[in-house]
Symmetry: C2
DNA sequence: CGCGGGTTTGATGATGCTCAAGCCCGGTGG
DNA sequence: CCACCGGGCTTGAGCATCATCAAACCCGCG
């Protein structure tokens, strides 16, 4: 169950066997069925989840009922509404499973304890948060700087893994365009080659 | 010089007189003229700066020479390329002054020492980073979810201070629209009332 | 007074959205 | 085993939004 988990962590900071055993104690496994919620708008996000298997998405819903993708998480990624998780305020987002998923979850209390007990994990999460800020900034720049086609190309190049796993209408929402436009862009690109 | 500085910090965490004196020692004042750079693309961002007076902006420049605003900082705000500052990697951004400015700057070494010596400042920056993530997410959602007019209205409502200080063509760039479009939007809104 | 940066205005065209229909494919029930 | 259904993707026509290009305007400053 923790195989992928430690593989990923050890890529960034290496933990001793003893530390790994300590870390394990903070996490609870959970399975999630396709379409099942991990978090619904209005609730406080109680868990930070590592995806061992499957795919999650987070999104918010606007006044007209439109869904806007915030984030996807494939195997080896983390998922939560970071803000709600850390602050304890109710979330504006929904999180659910795009495919059946297996998670490892930790609460805020566990998280804070773990930081103290296993300082290398604090380092790991610092790196993670930094990367999170960077990728959000990239996406923001992309979304204010480029045309729909350019945005799609940039995403496909920087995140080819997403293209193989995420339905296209969700990719469209992630890019802030309609599924129809995305379909035409893909047609256009395939004709070029 | 440190008046606004401590007013702002004490709003989030209150420091004793002794702590304030300790904190002061880590910062260096600096004046920046209008149009003068604090950071240029390719350099490492060596300083995190608190704005005591004036206005800064950070932006990146695309292949066609277009500027895209990342962030503004009025009095009481912080400015840096957080990623470059923390990681030591060269920045893709430029930072310069929109108006003559007075700054209080700290290096990464100073920053890290300060965290250890004055734990309350660590707490302060945790809050700051959290807020940063939240506002970036808001902006992202805004930019993928709304029309140009809606984006402008949302910005004007959430950040009225910016409207009074930042030239409109920079606001337009921040929103990812052209100055002409922004001008027409404003005309349209003023006619409504 | 003249210059220059910033903002406005107008005309035109491209980009992307909306609405509506059709297609493809996997899953379900008869 | 086939017929049907539904979800996701595609296609097309028409329209709204926004960008582009060009020109005029406004105002503070040298």
């Amino acid at each position: 169950m923790f195989k992928l988990f430690f593989t990923h962590i050890n890529q960034k900071v290496s933990l001793t066997a003893a530390e790994q055993n300590e870390v394990k104690t903070y996490f609870t496994p959970k399975k999630l069925r396709r379409k099942q919620y991990l978090l619904q708008e209005g609730e406080v996000c109680r868990y930070l989840a590592f995806v061992e298997k499957g795919v999650l998405r987070s999104y918010n819903v606007d006044a007209k009922g439109g869904e806007h993708m915030i984030h996807f998480a494939l195997e080896g990624w983390w998922m939560a509404d970071t803000y709600s998780f850390l602050s304890g305020e109710p979330s504006n987002y929904n999180i659910d499973a795009i495919e059946d998923a297996e998670l490892l979850m930790i609460t805020l209390e566990g998280f804070e304890q773990m930081m103290v007990q296993v300082p290398r994990m604090e380092r790991y999460f610092r790196i993670l948060f930094q990367n999170n800020i960077i990728s959000k900034e990239r996406r923001l720049i992309s979304s204010i700087s480029y045309s729909a086609e350019e945005k799609y190309i940039r995403l496909a190049e920087s995140n080819p893994q997403l293209m193989q796993r995420i339905p296209l209408h969700l990719i469209a929402s992630y890019l802030g365009i309609t599924p129809e436009t995305l379909s035409r862009i893909r047609k256009h690109l395939s004709q070029k080659k």
